[in-house]
């Protein structure tokens, strides 16, 4: 591992200043991804600003929703009574991710900022525009069975690995950030980016901006929710495809729906057209199947991930089925 400087921040402003003025500096919280990347030489920050002591770990009720502090642990959020009561979908998504040990270290902010698990990103000797812009995309013509079917570019076809973010984008969450130019709010759907020509940028955070919290508005999705994650073993694996589904049912009629997918794009992939197709429809297999077809419009497969064109809609159907029955 490279030599680096380590400082522990006690005030948010100090942490932000330290990172804003030094392009080689990074925030560190749980470190479950960053430390791995540093050990492999994929990220080589010269300074780490430890934000774990900042008072950003609270989970609280707001007027119309929940506020998750950026430093709240994944395990804490998943087990929190308020979260389980108001946003059970989020708890399900969190528990589908990683392992208990990792969830005990990983934070809300850090989970959103996970880098892709694309093998080419992880190998310093292989081309990767995300790791080293201009070197090409190794996955495009390589082994791409885990890769994107939506929103990819010829520069990058990687997917975002977070489960939590799939639920948050479905639930219309908002990200609160603080920077040297002040505070701002970013709609969750606008937080992560598509790769385009700049796959090195995962998110729309500006240099030195610190995630302080995530707001989730109250909604009717407290009962009929499900997070369906399809993976190659029963636990502790990244999704081949996942779906966060939430339904508001009046009898058997769908009043409102939320749908998002993981493992299919460079960002958590919200399916608004599919949601709309469900509104007013009966909660039946036929409705779910139609929504899944709508969801898959525009999907494009590469050499090894064509299975996602079939697994994707099936996963949506399964998520909706289970949510409706919940």
């Amino acid at each position: 591992m490279n030599q680096f400087q380590y400082v522990r921040a006690t005030k948010s402003q100090g942490a932000i200043d330290a990172v804003a003025k030094d392009p080689q500096a990074k925030f560190i919280a749980g470190g479950t991804n960053l430390v791995d990347l540093m050990k492999r030489g994929i990220m080589t920050p010269q300074k780490l600003v430890d934000i774990n002591r900042l008072p950003l770990a609270k989970i609280e009720r707001q007027d119309n929703g929940l506020r998750l502090g950026a430093l709240a642990l994944n395990s804490t959020v998943a087990n929190d009574a308020l979260v389980r009561q108001h946003q059970p979908l989020l708890a399900l998504a969190l528990n589908a991710g990683a392992s208990p040990q990792l969830r005990n270290m990983a934070t809300v902010g850090g989970n959103m900022l996970q880098r892709t698990r694309c093998s080419y990103f992880y190998d310093l000797t292989m081309p990767c525009n995300k790791r080293e812009p201009g070197t090409g995309c190794g996955a495009l013509e390589g082994i791409n069975r885990m890769h994107a079917i939506f929103g990819a570019s010829d520069k990058c076809i990687a997917v975002h690995p977070s489960d939590m973010s799939v639920a948050l984008v479905a639930l219309d969450a908002t990200v609160l950030v603080s920077g040297s130019k002040g505070d701002r709010r970013i709609a969750f759907a606008d937080f992560h980016r598509l790769p385009g020509d700049t796959p090195e940028k995962d998110t729309n955070l500006e240099a030195g901006e610190l995630i302080t919290a995530v707001d989730i508005p109250d909604g009717p999705f407290t009962k009929h929710v499900h997070y369906q994650k399809v993976r190659e073993r029963a636990s502790y694996a990244f999704a081949l495809v996942s779906t966060a589904a939430a339904l508001d049912l009046d009898g058997n009629t769908i009043k409102a729906a939320r749908l998002a997918m993981g493992g299919v794009a460079h960002k958590p992939w919200r399916l608004t057209a599919a949601e709309q197709s469900l509104v007013g429809q009966p909660a039946t297999e036929a409705s779910f199947r139609r929504a899944a077809e709508v969801a898959m419009q525009g999907a494009k497969a590469f050499k090894h991930n064509a299975y996602k064109l079939k697994l994707g809609p099936n996963t949506i159907v399964q998520a909706l089925r289970t949510a409706a029955a919940a």
Binding site: M1, N2, Q3, S119, T125, M126, E232, R233, S235, L311
Partner: protein, 744 residues
């Protein structure tokens, strides 16, 4: 005297269990020797070609760096010149990489330099600073592309009777003319052993010609032999210590480049050097189960008698070593087919050498054979168990010899009852549990009941305890525990009074722990050493008490503080007196197999029954129940043996459903680099695994009646699961692993 409880068969706890769970057991990377330095390997980033330069200046100048060793500055390793030329050793084809000996790159991540520093972190940092230039050549890493170049192994060319040679009984390829026939191609991709303990070594030159290695190895003597030869030293000058081995599954059956690197590094810096591979390096340089293509054709009569089988395979090897394994062995002897053809071939690729991985080739071959059995049974509309019974053979059809013992039918019965085989429907897709399709499948495994010669020593200590030693290793099955039980029964004393030491090359000689042979080989040595010790004690006691001199050999009884006679408990000689006069009471014996192996075909057998659930929409497969039954001869320890069976079954679940090391052939590099990409089963993937043993002794193998468990625990599991998936879905997956993308 209180009669001792019979230990053989008892579910005794592991003698080293406490040491292991408390962290007191010391593994090869845990020896903190004075002046210890740390080594990190730098790997080639090309797959084939030549090194044209290495720039090590920045690394050499980095803080704490003691040396950067490459082929430009490596000391001459004396054995490299004579490697493979020893007339006393069996002829081999090629040999391990001669590290830092030339500029040639034979596989990606081949070590091109080793960086030695005063701390691990500094060595790791400096290793990143080493820059190499290469002259690249075109490489081959894809077996499918190289099938046309596949060749007969040299061992088969030299010896037509070699098990690797083409085999035929009856008519060649007779299945092709059968009225009822099937034919299919099967693939098992590269799998990597990935024991929990990473490959590691601490090398210490205690004198310029005396080398001590704390090494992760399955054979202390094999490792001693290899490195004594490499350095031109008498074997007595090399000590190999492997007291504890944190799993291996076969990947410590060979000597690897990192071991050579640590030894060279220790020589250069003149300090003990520790080297532990990274998980990423575990993919590239310490072996793997080779990618293997197979084709199997079978014909049968309408009433379910197999008339012919042809089984061909092409396995992957490296360009510098010919690795072979018994992929086709089970096909030749398992079913009574009058016509049978096997052809084994190799394809040499620019990848590191493979090495046996648990169940080795037999597990690969059983996937094809046992899948085909299921397919033929389906075609004949027969229950697959009934189909196997109709082709059961009471003698070995390959060698035309009687079996030493074979209780496979008993295994079938035990397993079928436990899984509830009668619930299975002939028609696939017949059983549902909500959204899950339920299916049942079976797979059979067999492996030779191998036995080699082994030595063991036994020494009585004045307090009445017994110290036993043997150079064998314990990679996890509980060897020390089983040996303690054998010794306890033979000596008639409590197991707590016995200390069994292993994993040291100075101890009495024994073979490598591999091929399910340890209990078969070392067990008899322990038993005979204990008998010899008893007789020696009788003899020594005879000098003090004439009753002992005239007593029968097996009449001697070891009491708490004295020796006595079972027939005459009044005859007593205290151990203290006995040892005072004799000085010491110790024996070393060798136990060797006789010629039973020429008269009988000796095999362990297993059958695995799987119940799986396949999700109708997502294609996820869950093994909901697994039953493994074994005819492995006498079971020495019911608990550790069942544990070993369960571990092997979990390995089989990995093989069936998830293990797959993938290479991007454009670069010749693995894209699966860690345990996040390369999936092995987690606890949630392992159902309740029921184990049952026939537990009938095979006295042709040895006096204990053991046949071996390690391999048959895995062989046959993958096809049992694949067959259950077929029964659940009607989909026959012939290319492992069965991931959701193949079923959706």
């Amino acid at each position: 005297m209180k009669a001792q409880q019979k230990q053989i068969g008892a579910p005794m706890n592991r003698v080293d269990g406490h040491l292991k769970v408390t962290g007191a057991a010391k593994y090869s990377a845990e020896y903190e020797l004075p002046g210890l330095a740390y080594a990190v390997l730098v790997g080639s980033t090309i797959t084939k070609g030549r090194l044209t330069s290495i720039d090590a200046k920045a690394a050499e100048r980095a803080p704490g760096v003691l040396a950067v060793i490459t082929h430009y500055n490596s000391p001459k390793v004396p054995g490299y010149d004579t490697a493979g030329k020893d007339p006393s050793q069996p002829a081999t084809v090629g040999g391990p990489i001669k590290l830092f000996n030339d500029d040639k790159i034979r596989f990606n991540d081949q070590p091109i330099a080793v960086v030695v520093a005063d701390t691990l972190e500094r060595a790791r940092y400096a290793a990143r600073l080493v820059k190499a230039q290469y002259a690249k050549e075109a490489h081959q890493t894809n077996l499918e592309d190289n099938k046309p170049q596949a060749f007969l192994p040299t061992s088969a060319k030299k010896n037509p009777k070699s098990p690797m040679a083409d085999y035929q009984r009856g008519q060649a390829d007779a299945y092709k003319t059968g009225a009822i026939k099937i034919e299919g191609e099967y693939v098992i991709p590269t799998e990597v052993h990935h024991p929990m303990e990473l490959q590691s070594i601490t090398a210490h030159w205690e004198a310029p010609d005396r080398l001590t290695l704390y090494d992760k190895t399955q054979g202390t003597l094999a490792t001693r032999r290899d490195f004594a030869k490499e350095w031109g030293l008498p074997e007595a000058n090399v000590k190999v210590i492997a007291t504890f081995v944190g799993g291996a599954f076969g990947n410590a059956l060979h000597s690897w480049p990192h071991e050579s690197a640590a030894i060279i590094a220790a020589k250069v810096v003149n300090r003990p050097v520790k080297l532990m591979l990274t998980r990423e390096q575990m993919f590239t340089m310490v072996g793997y189960r080779p990618y293997t293509w197979q084709k199997l054709g079978m014909s049968a009569t309408p009433d379910g008698k197999i008339t012919a089988i042809t089984h061909e395979s092409i396995g992957q090897t490296s360009t510098y070593e010919e690795f072979t394994e018994s992929t086709l062995a089970q096909t030749r002897m398992m079913y009574a087919s009058p016509n049978l053809t096997t052809r084994y071939r190799l394809a040499a690729l620019d990848i590191g050498s493979p090495i046996w991985m648990r169940g080795p080739g037999e597990a690969t071959g059983a996937f094809a054979l046992e899948s085909a059995m299921d397919e033929m049974a389906h075609l004949l509309n027969l229950d697959p168990l009934e189909f196997r019974l109709r082709n059961y053979t009471d003698t070995d059809p390959e060698k035309n010899r009687p079996w030493s013992t074979k209780f496979l039918k008993e295994c079938y019965k035990l397993g079928a009852d436990r899984i509830g085989w009668n619930k299975r429907k002939l028609k696939p897709g017949s059983i549902r549990d909500g959204e899950w399709l339920v299916g049942y499948g079976m797979g059979v495994g067999t492996f030779g009941a191998h036995r080699g010669g082994a030595h063991a020593s036994a020494q009585l200590r004045p307090d009445g305890t017994v110290l036993m030693q043997c150079a064998t290793t314990d990679i996890g099955p509980g060897t020390g525990t089983a040996m303690t039980q054998i010794a306890a029964d033979t000596l008639g004393i409590a197991p707590e009074k016995i200390t069994f030491e292993l994993g040291h090359s100075d101890y009495p000689q024994a073979g490598t722990q591999g091929g399910s042979s340890t209990v078969n080989s070392v067990g008899p040595a322990v038993q005979q050493a204990c008998l010899a010790l008893k007789d020696k004690l009788r003899e020594l006691a005879g000098a003090q008490n004439p009753a002992f001199a005239s007593a029968k050999k097996d009449d001697v009884a070891l009491g708490d503080k004295h020796l006595s006679l079972s027939s005459n408990t009044a005859a007593r000689v205290p151990y203290a007196d006995l040892l005072k006069q004799a000085g010491a009471a110790s024996v070393t014996v060798e136990a060797k197999p006789g010629n039973e192996g020429q008269q009988y075909s000796m095999y362990s057998f297993s059958v695995h029954f799987a119940e799986v659930r396949v999700h109708e929409l997502t294609g996820e497969v869950r093994v909901s129940k697994l039953v493994s039954c074994a005819d492995a001869g006498t079971i020495i320890n019911e608990k550790t043996a069942a544990n070993q069976m369960k571990g092997g079954a979990v390995g089989g679940i990995g093989m069936a459903l998830m293990e797959h090391a993938r290479i991007d052939d454009r670069f010749g590099r693995y894209v699966t680099k860690d345990l996040a990409d390369y999936h092995v089963p987690v606890h949630a993937d392992a159902p309740n695994i029921e184990v049952a043993f026939v537990n009938q002794p095979d006295l042709k193998v040895n006096a204990l009646g053991t046949k071996g468990i390690g391999e048959i625990a895995t062989i046959g599991v993958a096809p049992a699961i694949a067959n259950a998936v077929f029964n659940a879905t009607g989909k026959r997956v012939r290319e492992l692993p069965i991931t959701p993308d193949k079923l959706v």
